[in-house]
Structures are given as C-alpha cells and as structure tokens.
C-alpha cells in the first residue's frame, strides 16, 4: 500500500496546524515567516500532487495508488483513497492554484479588517496578531479537505470532507474581505458567509440523508459498506439492485448537494455574494476549487452509484444546466460589480460542466472534466487580476474604472487574456473543453447543444463588455494612480496564462489521463456514444499522402 495519496492530503493539513501554531505575527518579519511557511507547504503539496500524477498510469486500473485505513468500522467506513484520472486532474488543479492564491493574497490578511471598520482591530490585539496565521492556515485546511474529497473512494469519507470544508471556507469568506465594499461591507460579508454556509449545509444535510439511505439499502442486500468501489462493483455486477424509486430519491439527495455546491441554476444565488464579498483569492478558491468538488461528485457519485436514476433525470438536469448557461451569462451582462460579474460567468460555466456530465457521452464527460480544470485556471487568472485591480482602486464597481490599459498595460493585457479564456477563445484551454462538452451534448441532445452554443456569444458579450468598460476609453478619475502589476503579481498570473495556453494547444496529457476514467463511468451507466449516421471510412484524417 502506497502512502502517497494520504501524504498529499496530510501535508496541507499538517501545514494548516503548523501555520496556525507559529508565533503570533507581531512584526512584519514574523508575518512573513508565517506566509513563507504556508507557501512552502503548498508548494510541497504541489510536488506531491505532481508525484501522484507522475505515478498515475493512464492505461492502468481505474483507481490507482489506492490505500485504505480502518476508520469507523461500526459504520462500515474506512479511510480509503484512490486516484483516478478525473480525480488526479483535479488534484493537480487544486495543488497548482493554492500556492498562487496564497501569493495573490499575500497582503490580504494584513491591514484593516475592512474599509468601514478600519479602526476596529486595535493594533497589537490578539486578532491583528493572528490574522495572518488564520488566513493561511484556513487556506491550507481547505486545500487538505478538497484533496481528500477528490481522492476519497469511500462515500462517507467524501461526505465528511465535502461538508467539513465549508467551515474553513466560511471563515475565509466572512473574515477576510477585499476592502472595496461599501459602508456596510462588514454586514454584506457576513451575510455572504452565512448564505454560503447555509445553502451548502442544507445541501449537505440532504445528502447526509441520502448517504444513510444508500447504506441502508446496500446493507439490506448484504453490502454493508460505504466503499465506492465495492458499491459500484456490486451495482454493475447486479449484486446490488436499488429499487428504481429508492434510486431516484437517493440520486436526488446526492445531486441536490452537488447542485448547490456546483452551483446549478436555480440554487446558485449564494455564489455571487460569496465571491463578491470575499478576497479575490478566496473567490478563486470557491469557484475554481471548492465548487469543482460538486461537479466532480456528480460525475463520480451520482453516475457511478445511481446509473438508472441518472439517466432518468438527465434530460431535466440538462435543461436546468442550459438555463444556467444562458441565465448566468445574461445576468453577468447586467452586473455592475466586477467580482459578481465573474461569479455569474462562473455560473454559466458550471452549466456547461453539468451539461457535459449528464450528456453521458465520452466527449461530454471528458470535456466536463477538462472544463473543471480549465475553468479553474482561466477564472483564477481573470479573477486574480481583477482582484489586483480592485485592490489598487478600492472599488468593485465597473463604473469606477475606465482606461486602465493606458496606465497599467500589463494588468489590462492579462485581464484581457483572462477574459478571452473565459469566452473560450480557441487556442486557449477552455475552448477545448467547451467544444467537447458542446459536441458531446449535441450528439445526444441536438436542440440543447444548439441553444448551449448560443452561450458562446453571450460569453463574448460579458467578457468583452467588462474589458471595454474598465480597460479602454479615456482614463477615468481615480484610475490615474493605478500601478501596473508587480513582480509578485506577475508571478501569480504568468503560470496561469502559460497553463491556459499550453492546455489549449496540447491538452493530450490531460485527456489521456481522463479518458479511461470517463469510459469507466460511461460503462457504469451503460451508455455508449451515439454512433455517427454515416461514419467515415477507417482512414481518419490525413496521412494518405
């Protein structure tokens, strides 16, 4: 048994404890030590994640590097981890983004708590001393829990961490704002944090009922276990037959939680608040990492455990996802707040991911998985640059900006790249995934595919409108002083841009990793790709000459 996976999860967890335990940040030097330690831990995690990816053999078993430790025998729970292609891809995404988020939020935890209550944290108070530790420890805690969620091969273990990650996330949202809100930003932020927590908690609790229900149903048929692999094996071999009604109910229980987390229309309204009020780094953590657990879980748990119900509900879900695509984009167009705009854009993108998952074609699901990764990277770039901009001007309102490209061309350029990635420009990573999702959807549900394609026009609208309004035109009052990106900020954006381009031109390593897992998922739901009406002859592509 290899311990690589548990090490990958344990390092950030231990790092969180270590960071929290470091001496209080009374001086700038100590604060820097704290940050450096946290960053080092996250880089170490990245190294371990890379090791996981390197030892993952695309052609091998579905779950590799598996390990299992007895945890709560009474409930049939063992702490089992295993990496499949989909999980590994997302582990990599997480491990890449966290150090960048830390670097981007290097100064987010210092200084006043918020614009309005600037004086509310007396210098030298316990809180002002511990804020840095708290911020970075919470990020590491989120990372650890997300990693476990991506690697868990036990339904219960997944559930526990799926749910537990809400708490550090909640404190990140509620405790650390971007200093750009209005006079009642404290109240807004705590509202956002509560909303985030309550929505997700409700989702999680409904899922809890379903998790229990699943166990009861399975135990009735002699499969008293939470092990995902054991359950899916039993289901596909017919040893475990879940009666259709029960299956539908359980599916909905699981799906509800994931749809809240993803978030899918109409359960999305927590996301704009949460992303709008938190720091840019936290917003990235939410939309690029934490929310991915939702879509990831749809693919792994909803489809794997409830194949028939998934098929039953697929059309309904696809329609909701479609509504989400168009709705999210339209509402994004109508936003006045930069970060909320990005949030609604994400809602639109999550629609695509869900579409891909439930199209149940290999293109759709591979596309959806790639989409998760690519959306993570591209939105991170977009959002973090937006955050840099907001921190300079101290406002989130689009109307407060104009002509930034004149004073900060690099910032504007990277912001444009982020926007172009968001609108899935070919040559950039999101295009690959979006097109796969569209093709996958179209090949089974042509009408939905066509309407979803309309989303690419709307995406261009919101992305370019935002760029036009903030970056171009004459320099607005208040923007003159905006400085261009600093070295630290460039170091955050550069890897993201590079990855966006690299995965746009050469996504093969990723697709190779993901494809076998997707095929396995498809075989779990007994779905095969629709065959072309008039397949071309075996000669595929060029090479005749």
């Amino acid at each position: 048994m290899s311990y690589l996976l548990s090490a990958t999860c344990a390092v950030p967890a231990a790092g969180a404890v270590l960071t929290a335990a470091l001496p209080a940040g009374t001086t700038e030097a100590r604060r820097r030590t704290t940050k450096t330690v946290a960053l080092a831990v996250s880089v170490l995690t990245l190294g371990l994640a890379a090791a996981v990816a390197a030892s993952f053999e695309p052609g091998g078993a579905r779950y590799q590097l598996t390990e299992s430790h007895s945890w709560i025998r009474s409930f049939g729970i063992s702490f089992s981890l295993g990496a499949d292609g989909i999980g590994t891809a997302l582990v990599l995404l997480t491990a890449v983004l966290v150090p960048l988020v830390m670097l981007a939020g290097w100064h987010d935890a210092t200084g006043p708590v918020s614009g309005s209550a600037a004086g509310s944290v007396p210098e030298g108070s316990f809180e002002s001393k511990r804020r840095t530790q708290a911020f970075f420890a919470l990020i590491l805690a989120v990372e650890a829990m997300v990693l476990v969620s991506f690697l868990a091969t036990d339904v219960f273990v997944f559930y526990v961490f799926f749910e537990a990650m809400l708490i550090p996330m909640y404190f990140l949202i509620g405790g650390f704002g971007d200093r750009a809100g209005g006079p009642d930003s404290d109240r807004q932020r705590s509202y956002a944090a509560v909303k985030f927590l309550l929505y997700n908690l409700l989702g999680g609790l409904v899922m809890l009922a379903a998790v229990i229900g699943l166990y009861v149903v399975a135990a009735d048929q002699g499969q008293a276990t939470f092990s995902l692999t054991a359950l899916t094996d039993a289901i596909s071999s017919g040893k475990l037959v879940i009666d259709p009604n029960a299956q539908r109910a359980l599916f909905l229980g699981f799906f509800f939680a994931f749809a809240v987390k993803a978030p899918m229309w109409p359960l999305h309204t927590w996301l704009p608040n949460a992303m709008g009020e938190s720091t840019a780094g936290t917003a990235v953590l939410i939309t690029a990492v934490v929310d991915k657990v939702g879509t990831f879980a749809m693919l792994r748990f909803c489809l794997g455990l409830f194949p028939d119900a998934s098929k039953t509900f697929a059309p309904v879900i696809m329609v909701l996802a479609l509504v989400g695509i168009v709705y999210g984009a339209l509402v994004a167009i109508g936003q006045k707040d930069i970060k909320r705009l990005v949030a609604y854009a994400s809602i639109s993108h999550f629609g695509f991911i869900i579409l891909g998952v439930f199209a149940m074609t290999s293109q759709g699901q591979s596309g959806a998985t790639l989409y998760m990764v690519n959306h993570g990277i591209s939105t991170a770039a977009w959002m973090l640059v937006a955050g840099f901009l907001i921190s300079r001007r101290g406002s989130r309102l689009i109307a407060d900006y104009g002509g930034v490209q004149k004073v900060a061309p690099v910032l504007a350029g990277t912001f444009l790249i982020g926007g172009l990635a968001t609108l899935s420009l070919p040559g950039m990573a999101p295009f690959v995934s979006e097109f796969l999702v569209l093709v996958g959807t179209f090949s089974r549900y042509p009408a939905i595919g066509v309407v979803a394609t309309f989303g690419i026009v709307l995406a261009a609208l919101y992305a370019l409108l935002l760029y036009q309004r903030t970056m171009t035109g004459p320099v607005k009052a208040g923007v003159e002083g905006v400085k261009d990106l600093k070295a630290r900020e460039l170091a955050v954006v550069a890897p993201l841009v590079a990855l966006t381009l690299l995965l746009g031109v050469y996504p093969k390593p990723l697709t190779d990793m993901v494809n076998p897992a997707v095929n396995d998922t498809l075989s779990q739901v007994h779905r095969t790709d629709p065959a072309p009406a008039h397949p071309v002859a075996a000669t595929n592509g060029g090479e005749q000459k």
């Binding site: 108070s125 708290a134 961490f161």
Partner: protein, 545 residues
C-alpha cells in the same frame, strides 16, 4: 415482585425476616456516590466554614472518581455484557446501557463539579474568593441578611452534596428495573436539582423563579409518571419491567386477576402514555419542554450545564429501558406516537431557537432539538438504535457541558453576559474562547469531524435502518434550521463589531479550563476517531431483563 403468599409464608415460619440479597459490588457506583453525598452532609455539619469548600470538592471528586473507577472495573469484569444481570431482587439491572450511561454521567459530573469550584470569575469580596452560587440561599435577595452573608464571603457549599445526591439518582435512573425504583430514582435526581436551580449568586430572582417553575412542573410530571405506574401495575400486576413485558406479550402465567385486568388494554396504553410523559418531561421533549428555557436560563450556569448533560443522559437511559425492556411488545403502539413526538421536538426546538436572544435560552432550545434527534435513534427499536443513542448521549454531554462552561466566562459587571448582543465581536476580543465555543456550536450543528456529526449520523442511520426514513428527513431539515442559529452566533462572535462596553472574558482557573479542555478533546476525538467509543456503545447496547 413480592407475592403476598411469600409474605404469608414468612409469617408462618416465625419472626425472622429473610434478608434480601444485595450485590453490593455491582451496586458500588451508586453506593459510593450516595456515601460521598452523606459524607458531604457531614462535612457541611462539622467542618468549619473556611475548610468546607475544598473539602466538599475533594469529597465529591473522590466519590465521583471512585464510582467511575467502580463502573470501569464492573465493565471490565463483563458486567456490561456477559455477566449483566438483575440485582437487588430484580430492582436494579446492571447491564451494558446502565454501565455505559453511568460512566457518562459520572464523567460529566466530575467536569461539572470542577466548574462549580471555579472561584476566579466573580470578583473577590473582602478577600474571599466566591463562586457562582448564592452566599446564603435562604436570605431574601437584596435583603440585609444577604448583604451580610455576601460581605462575609459565604458560599453555598451544600451544592456539592446536592449534586452527589442528584448524581446518585441519575445513576440509579437508567439502571432501574422496576417502576418503583425508577420513580424513586426520578425523585432522588429531581429534588436536588430543584434546589440547585435556586442557588445562583447573581440574578437571584430569576434563579428562584426557575426553581419554582422546575419544581412545580417536575412534581406535576412525576404525578403523571406515578399514575401511569399505577395503571401499568393494574394491568400487569407487577412493577418489574421484565414481568410487565411478559404479561404484555402474553407469555406469563395467567392468574385470575390478570385475566380480568389484561382484558382492559386501555389501562396499559394510558399507563404507558403517562409513564412516557414523566420521562419525556425530563428529557425535554415537546410538548413537555416548556420548562427547559426558563430553568436553563435561571439556574446557575454550572448547574445548567450539569443538568442539561447529565439529566438528559439519565432520563434517556430510563426511557430506553422502559421502552426496550417493558414494552417491546407494544412497539406498534408507541412507535407512531414517539414518531410524532420526535418530529415535533426536532422542529419546534429548532424553529424556536432561531429567535432567541439569550445564549442560555438558545442552548436550552437547542437541547430540545437534540432531544428530538436522540428520539429518532430510540425509535429504531433495535440494538443499533440503542448503541446510537448511547453514543449520542456521550457526545452530547461533553459538548453541552463545555458550551455552558464557556458561557460562564463571558462576563460583564453584572455577572455573566448572556444576552447575545453582548457576544458580538467576541471572536475579535478573545479568538481562542470564541473558537472553542464555535467548535461546540459546530458540534451541536452536526458538522463532520466533530462528535456531534458522528452522533447524528449514528442515530439517523439507526432510524433509517429501522425504517423511519421520513423521520430522518425531518431530522435533516431541522438540522438545517438549527444550523441557522448556531451559525448566527458564530457570525455574531466573529463578524460583528464588538460593543464598546461589551463583556470581558474572564480568565478561568485550571478547573474550568480543564472542563472546557476535556470538552474540546472529546468533541474532536469522537469526531475524528470515534471507533473505540462506537464499539463500546455497541457492545453495551444490550438490555438485560
């Protein structure tokens, strides 16, 4: 049962009265506690005032510790499992549940006694350290006599023997194997609690009011219990739970009297309902909960903590024994009714807590909601259900005690600052304490990786396996509502600005710190690595009869 002819036979054979066989060894936990209580009374009578407090503390800790050691030894000897049996002529059952709950009660009591002895919170009076209890309980609040007593630094050290008596009753309550013993235990545990409620040093008026409400309603409930006892006795002709079960299921020999009384099922059913009323009152189930908020608020906070944790444990023990030993045959009659009670309890407790403004009342309603959750486990009517309830009680006791211990620390010039508005910004003033309280609240809310989650999972799983799926769904929804108010408190503590004249957090002595620390450890321990205790609970989950 002592049949009349046996007595007659004894008469015939002369004046000698056959001595009942008493297993002192197995009863030693209770005997030790009662012995310590009596010793406490003697201490009160004979020791000089100065020495009393520490002597009482020592006696109590020794007594409780000794009793706990006895419980451990008994359990180790197998009295909880293989050697479980009826003692004292069938009046007391020492079996798994009894020993387990006795252990829980004793541990809670130890921690509670530690919080009683806390002397650093109240300001010193004339150089005397004083605790949370009235200087002289008999004195009129605000009167001359009270002023004198206060000036002399008097302390109501009677609280210790009273607690020991209550603990003795609590130990007996879940072990009581006939209705007589149960009734006596009920009274033995209740009467000291009535008095203890009245002993608050500050806010004596509401303390006295709490006592009188608790007393009158408690006596009222006891009357129902007693009448229920009479009716059940009338039906079955016996007070012993096992024999009642035999009569109910029709396996016992039918005497002429039984032939008449068993005709009348109403006797049995009304009796059962009334017994349930008496016990549901103690656990604080809706609609017998109305005393809880008032009493929890009015009683001295250390007493509230003790009461909330230990009374609930003991009462649920008795409820379990009553339903599982005496009335398993009536399952189809009481289960639907208890369904209703459980649903009402969960829903009303959660909904009413939302609008509370006082932290102690909030915790009181929370305890009502938790009674509902525990009832879902009770309804499972199998061994798993019992194990789940046992585990839940263990988890809940420590969280509750810890939470109330934290409440004692948040103070202003008027004593404890229990109004929630005073808690605003606590997380900024003393993050550690706020974090601890947040942990307890999260455990109450059932967030994974805390003991509350494990417990909730256990009872819901048991309920689902017992076929009570709707109950699980109501439980889940109530949990969501409940989460709302726990989170509200967290928001208040962390994300609101502190009031300028807000309360200060007192630095406790190691006594309270120990209580809180143990609470934290158990909360995390049972959340992260609960297996040992789940095993223990499931091993203990068999009633003897």
């Amino acid at each position: 049962m002592i049949p009349a002819h046996a007595l007659a036979a004894a008469n015939g054979s002369g004046p000698s009265i056959p001595a009942p066989h008493i297993e002192y060894g197995q009863l030693s936990p209770m005997l030790v506690v009662f012995g310590a209580a009596l010793l406490g009374v003697l201490v009160e009578a004979f020791l000089p005032r100065r020495a009393r407090a520490s002597a009482q503390l020592g006696v109590s800790l020794l007594g409780l510790g000794g009793a706990f050691a006895a419980v451990v030894v008994l359990a180790a000897q197998g009295h909880g499992t293989t050697k479980a049996g009826l003692l004292a002529m069938g009046a007391v059952a020492i079996d798994g549940p009894a020993l387990f709950l006795q252990g829980v009660i004793l541990l809670t009591a130890v921690l509670a006694v530690l919080t009683y002895a806390e002397g650093r919170l109240e300001p010193r009076i004339n150089g005397h350290r004083v605790d949370a209890f009235a200087a002289q309980a008999a004195a009129v609040p605000g009167g001359e006599q009270e002023r004198d007593a206060t000036r002399e630094g008097l302390r109501t050290t009677e609280i210790y023997p009273l607690t020991l008596f209550a603990v003795g009753g609590m130990l007996l309550f879940p072990a009581a194997n006939d209705l007589l013993t149960m009734f006596v235990a009920l009274e033995v545990l209740s009467l000291p609690l009535y008095l203890m409620s009245a002993l608050a040093r500050r806010r004596r008026l509401i303390s006295q009011e709490a006592a009188v409400k608790y007393f009158l309603l408690g006596a009222f409930a006891s009357a129902f219990f007693l009448f229920g006892t009479a009716l059940v006795y009338g039906y079955a002709g016996s007070l012993q739970l096992g024999e009642i079960a035999d009569v109910v299921s029709g396996v016992s020999q039918v005497t002429p009297a039984l032939a008449v009384t068993t005709q009348n099922d109403a006797l049995l059913l009304i009796g059962l309902a009334m017994l349930a009323v008496g016990l549901l009152f103690k656990v604080g189930a809706v609609p017998f909960h109305s005393w809880t908020p008032d009493v929890y608020q009015g009683a001295p906070t250390p007493v509230t903590g003790f009461m909330a944790a230990a009374t609930k444990t003991a009462a649920f023990g008795a409820l379990l024994r009553l339903f599982y030993v005496a009335f398993p045959g009536l399952r189809w009659d009481w289960r639907p009714v208890m369904w209703g009670v459980a649903i009402l309890t969960m829903a009303v407790g959660a909904v009413l807590a939302i609008t509370q403004q006082d932290v102690k009342r909030l915790l009181a309603y929370s305890s009502v909601a938790h009674a509902g959750f525990i009832l879902t486990g009770l309804i499972a009517t199998d061994r798993r259900g019992v194990a789940a309830v046992l585990f839940y009680l263990l988890a809940y006791s420590f969280v509750t005690l810890g939470a109330f211990a934290v409440v004692t620390l948040v103070r202003d010039s008027k004593g404890e600052a229990t109004h929630l508005s005073n808690w605003a910004g606590l997380g900024r003033r003393s993050p550690l304490l706020a974090a601890v309280f947040a942990l307890f609240l999260l455990a109450f809310a059932g967030i994974p990786l805390t003991s509350g989650f494990t417990g909730k999972f256990a009872v819901f799983q048991a309920a689902a396996e017992g076929g009570a799926t709707p109950l699980v769904i109501v439980g889940v929804l109530s949990s969501a509502v409940a989460a709302f108010f726990y989170i509200r408190v967290i928001v208040l503590m962390f994300f609101s600005d502190p009031q300028p004249s807000g309360p200060a957090v007192a630095v406790p002595s190691p006594l309270t710190a120990t209580a809180i620390g143990v609470g934290v450890l158990v909360t995390l321990g049972l959340g992260l690595l609960p297996q040992y205790f789940l095993d223990l609970a499931s091993k203990a989950a068999l009633f003897t009869r």
